[in-house]
Symmetry: C2
């Protein structure tokens, strides 16, 4: 093998080498056009895009403050039955546009979103076939989005994509935070922190920090009728798009032309810049559902954690959790303490035995006999709360789709407004029966599953139901277009602390805001107050607790802070009612914190170390702040300038002086102090600790 000589050469000579060596030339081929280059600057002028052809191939680069952050990277597509957009290409500019607008979210991290960008559209033609496509580029101050559009044309009535060539040439090695792709456990891994070059195939958002401190995150927006993009390392520094394959061959099947999702590259001076970006949302289409006021952001409790810690079981082979009596208890607790919803898992037929293999036996309309769904829905309505539905598919989407209308009819009739769905699958493969009766196994993020999720979301909207999928496809900002797609899982959530070995390490929630959360809301389910559930005696001899290594590696205060640091328009208070009532001082914060925001600001943070987030309530002048740290205790100085001229009272829920997630997790203090926007607040976080604060105007 001699190819790595090139790598060695590059390492040795770096840019000098590139300048000295003449560009590759195909002396025997005169048909290629000379290089043509188009450029585009971001509104603030700091980012510059260049798009060009060289010897018939298409490339782009992206520079930040005059320095490339994405080097020469190829663009293009290949097909099974057509020539590719991969060689013999010419290009020309079709349009340019400057855009600056503000739009309103029906719910979200902020009410109003600014969309300010420079746009460039180019047409690309293949010389020897005449086929053409367009490339759309949108350059924001905070990053780049681009996508391919292959319009309807001769020979493209049907096209099977076999490769998306899109490359991302990083400049120099970098630190990276990532989870592996195309693996059994979807997105649910402890994050790896490595050099970017140690990566092989990773999910997006893929976040890196260059040696000079510039942060990048590569992801996609508006994933519709296409396969999800992972990133594959071609060689050190060079990554390419790698689309999840279809079970029927190829990567994406298109008809009558197609438009790809946006490929996005966030560029920030620091980690917080990534978390504060609205670029992904701006690249999605506006709300297509019209009035969705039937969905209100809020907090919920439910029959869930008890199963994870082995107090209860989903099915009846144990101590069934979803009983009429237990659900009434939760309805009463929710109504009394200000929660909107009550999730109940394990209410329907099909959970007995190995339910994660039983996707073909679930009924989505028939309740277990000990769960009186009609009476409970009535009782909830009386109490002014709503049950939250649950549909576990165990990855068998045919069985689910066959029952979908009946299932949603039932929930609509009973006054449900939200459904949690689940796609746990034995071995990780999604099972689908095609029109010929052939059983197919799909990736959870391939085109078939992307289309399944869209199907469910649209059908749910017709029934005024919001959807919160677990084991989902990753978020790409589609809640702007379908605001009933309210949250999702898509990373290791709290449940791993019930039975994971190891559980989520203290750093986990300091990585999520800069990785997973760049893809949108997460149903993490914070608020566990009994931090050592596996140490309690078993409920029954045949239902032993999990290994003691499974525990919550945070302090009590950090559990509160997560309600601010992790955004979701539906937030669970995940623990059992009795555990909340046992710690009323801490529980007060959960009762108060809202789930919908006027504004949100990540104030400080380093990936994997700590983060400080402030958010303003959508329905009051109150601000909330959450600060968390990894396994290291940390003192943070937080300027309160976001308060403006507010003369405020700060209610502080914090780690006590000896707090430590490992040795003393319950050391917890509350205090109140007067503050203004000119103050700098000092927060002392214990190891694995946090702080949660509510700021209220004192004149109220």
């Amino acid at each position: 093998m001699k190819q790595n000589m090139i790598l060695a050469g590059l390492a040795l000579f770096g840019l000098v080498f590139l300048l000295l060596v003449p560009p590759p030339n195909n002396a025997n081929n005169d048909s290629f056009s000379p290089p043509v280059q188009l450029t585009l600057k971001s509104p603030d002028g700091r980012l510059q895009l260049a798009v060009f052809t060289d010897q018939g191939k298409l490339y782009y680069t992206l520079a930040h403050d005059g320095k490339q952050v994405i080097g020469r990277s190829r663009l293009g597509l290949r097909f099974r039955d057509q020539k590719g957009f991969d060689e013999n290409l010419t290009m020309r500019e079709l349009a340019r546009n400057s855009h600056d607008a503000r739009w309103e979210q029906v719910w979200g991290e902020r009410q109003f979103v600014r969309d300010r960008h420079e746009a460039l559209v180019i047409e690309v033609k293949r010389a020897d076939s005449g086929q053409h496509m367009r490339l759309q580029f949108r350059l924001f101050d905070e990053g780049l989005g681009f996508r391919y559009e292959v319009p309807k044309q001769a020979r493209f009535a049907s096209a099977l994509i076999t490769d998306e060539i899109t490359q991302f040439a990083l400049q120099g090695d970098a630190d990276a935070w990532w989870v592996p792709s195309r693996e059994w456990n979807r997105y649910e891994y402890i994050y790896h922190e490595t050099r970017a070059d140690a990566v092989s195939l990773v999910h997006t958002p893929f976040t890196i920090r260059q040696q000079d401190g510039v942060h990048l995150a590569i992801h996609e927006a508006a994933l519709v009728d296409y396969s999800a993009m992972s990133l594959k390392k071609l060689r050190d520094g060079l990554f390419k798009a790698d689309l999840s394959p279809r079970s029927e061959g190829g990567l994406v099947l298109t008809e009558n032309g197609f438009t790809t999702p946006w490929r996005t590259i966030l560029v920030g001076d620091d980690a917080a810049d990534l978390a504060n970006s609205d670029l992904m949302l701006n690249l999605n289409e506006p709300n297509k559902l019209g009035d969705v006021s039937w969905f209100k952001p809020g907090k919920y409790v439910g029959i869930w954690w008890g199963m994870h810690i082995r107090d209860r079981t989903w099915g009846r082979d144990g101590v069934h959790g979803a009983t009429t009596e237990e659900t009434r208890r939760f309805i009463e607790f929710a109504a009394e303490y200000g929660f909107d919803g009550i999730l109940v898992e394990g209410w329907n037929l099909g959970w007995d035995g190995n339910w994660y293999e039983n996707g073909d036996v679930f009924s989505f309309t028939e309740a277990y006999p000990d769960f009186d769904i009609e009476a409970l829905a009535d009782y909830a309505r009386q109490k002014g709360v709503r049950l939250i539905g649950h549909h576990e598919t165990s990855g068998n989407i045919s069985n689910y789709e066959n029952q979908l209308e009946d299932a949603f009819d039932l929930y609509e009739r009973l006054g449900y407004r939200a459904v949690k769905t689940g796609y746990v699958a034995d071995g990780g493969d999604i099972k689908r029966i095609d029109d010929n009766g052939i059983t197919r196994y799909e990736y959870h993020d391939g085109q078939a599953m992307v289309n399944h999720h869209h199907h469910v979301i649209k059908r749910a909207a017709e029934h005024r139901l919001a959807i919160n999928p677990h084991e989902p496809v990753k978020g790409t900002g589609l809640w702007r277009t379908y605001p009933n797609w309210v949250s999702r899982e898509g990373a290791r959530g709290q449940e791993y602390n019930a039975w994971g070995i190891p559980p989520n390490p203290p750093s986990h929630t300091t990585i999520l805001p800069f990785t997973r959360m760049l893809s949108g809301p997460m149903d993490f389910t914070p608020g566990i107050f009994d931090l050592r559930p596996s140490e309690r005696p078993p409920v029954r001899a045949d239902m032993p607790r999990h290994d003691k290594r499974s525990r919550i590696e945070t302090t009590l205060a950090k559990q509160l802070a997560l309600y601010v640091t992790i955004y979701s328009p539906i937030q669970m208070a995940a623990d059992l009612p009795e555990n909340y009532l046992a710690r009323p001082a801490a529980f007060k914060f959960i009762r108060q914190v809202p789930a919908d925001w006027q504004d949100s600001r990540t104030l400080q943070g380093e990936i994997g170390d700590y983060i400080v987030v402030a958010r303003r309530d959508r329905n009051s002048p109150d601000w909330y702040l959450g600060a968390i740290t990894d396994e290291n205790p940390r003192q943070l100085k937080v300027p309160l300038d976001f308060l403006g001229d507010c003369d405020c009272r700060a209610e502080i829920y914090a780690d006590g002086p000896a707090a430590d997630y490992d040795t003393n997790p319950y050391d917890f203090v509350t205090r109140t102090q007067a503050v203004t926007g000119t103050d700098i607040l000092t927060l002392n976080l214990g190891a694995g600790g946090g702080a949660a604060i509510r700021f209220t105007p004192r004149n109220q």
Copy 2:
């Protein structure tokens, strides 16, 4: 996500859990047949195979000394257009057989190979479609082989395989040595040594060591008209077959029924057992070429290393290596010092510029004007040696196949007997133009490339040419069937020491015998004597040497030992003639060591630490021994019982007392001593060092 609860549960309860919990049952489905089980024992009784159906699915287990080494693992296949062999299955025994035979290799590590195994053939039917297949199992003392056979039948005239379900359920975590699969650089990585559970997608041979010291290696035999199998981790401990995809969709396209390669599992009490196995060869078909006496194992030199260390260039944009004058010099050197062949790279048109991107411009019949191929072939013949051909394709197999007959005609006419081929490809993809003129990009180990290699091997045999592919598909024992497939690359070879950053670490060659070498001969190209080539002054100012970190991380003696520890029927003496002539005492061993063996025995070894190998010359009573160590100095005690009753003279080429690959690599001693088979020889190896020994009967 709740699925990992199962993992946590298993971790907690282990086997007890399995015994207590009833098997999963699909209460709603009565159509499944009850479990049926067939078992088979190895000839020595230590291995036991069980094959069974459970609820219509097919499984196997493998036990060693009564303890499972492969737990309950699924078997089966899925297709795009047919129902799969994945559910609704029944099975019955078709045949059993005990086999014990001896066959002769035309060349190899040993002349005679024993094939002793127990065979079981079962028929598998799918109840709802009537389709059927056969499973063949062969159980040796040293491991298991099995394969699927789908005979010609209705609805299977053409079948596109979309999944091979085959699983390998390891028992408990283990140490693993592996290289990643489906990546740009094919097989050419520094080996990872991790826990098996840290793996995601890996090439085979995949070698692991259980906690109890039992070693396993999973691989395949007889890869014909199929895609290569990688192993994908489904979840901790559970791996499955993962076949390289086709560019045209799916994994493998079959016609009129098909037979898969053998899936093989070696089981050894120690690492040496793996290296001593002939299981893979025994699962291949006998020689189909008839008389191949025109190929003789031997040693060669060539115009190659000079390009890697930047003395010379492949093309003419620099200092061309493949000149008539330089080739004459190598012919003379080979003839004088007993080498059979002279490899010349860069002799043909097409190398100028970025040749690793220029696969479409190579000519395989036109020499550069400064390389007089006719005169040189004549001169070699006069001198009693032969030129070795070279075909670099740069991954463009269409251009190569179009010229193949002409290229082989030329070599045959000029008396060549061997050709080194190369498949370096920019970005790693193999380029192929299909019958419709569509450019396709294939994996190097997908079905298309597997078939390309077979095509080349068969055409070469017709021209009495042996093939040594670099950047090849992995070996699966096919040299038994096609003895002109004499060696291959398929791992990081010596070349990485010329320009790799990092170069091969000292442990690399102590891992290869238990991983890469389980797939057959490797053209590693040992014998570099100038261990710091990058520290010499550049030949020309525009051809600077590589970075000084690129160097040979062995002692001089270890370079000699590699001729014994790494098997290949063609062994290069890779360095420049002047470097050999500067160290005649060490060069003597390279001149003497043969390349064809009567017998071979790995005597001792731990993966990644050291190995000791003894081999007996095929054409004399002499034995040779090679011992090497990793970065640690090591004292080895080697019983010489393999010498039997020989009264022998041992010529020992060894590290000097201060030898150290880093600080003193040239400290080298030779000594002679009398030994017999009852002696135990003590060898002191320096850090990164080795020893090479020739044993000759003293009465000769």
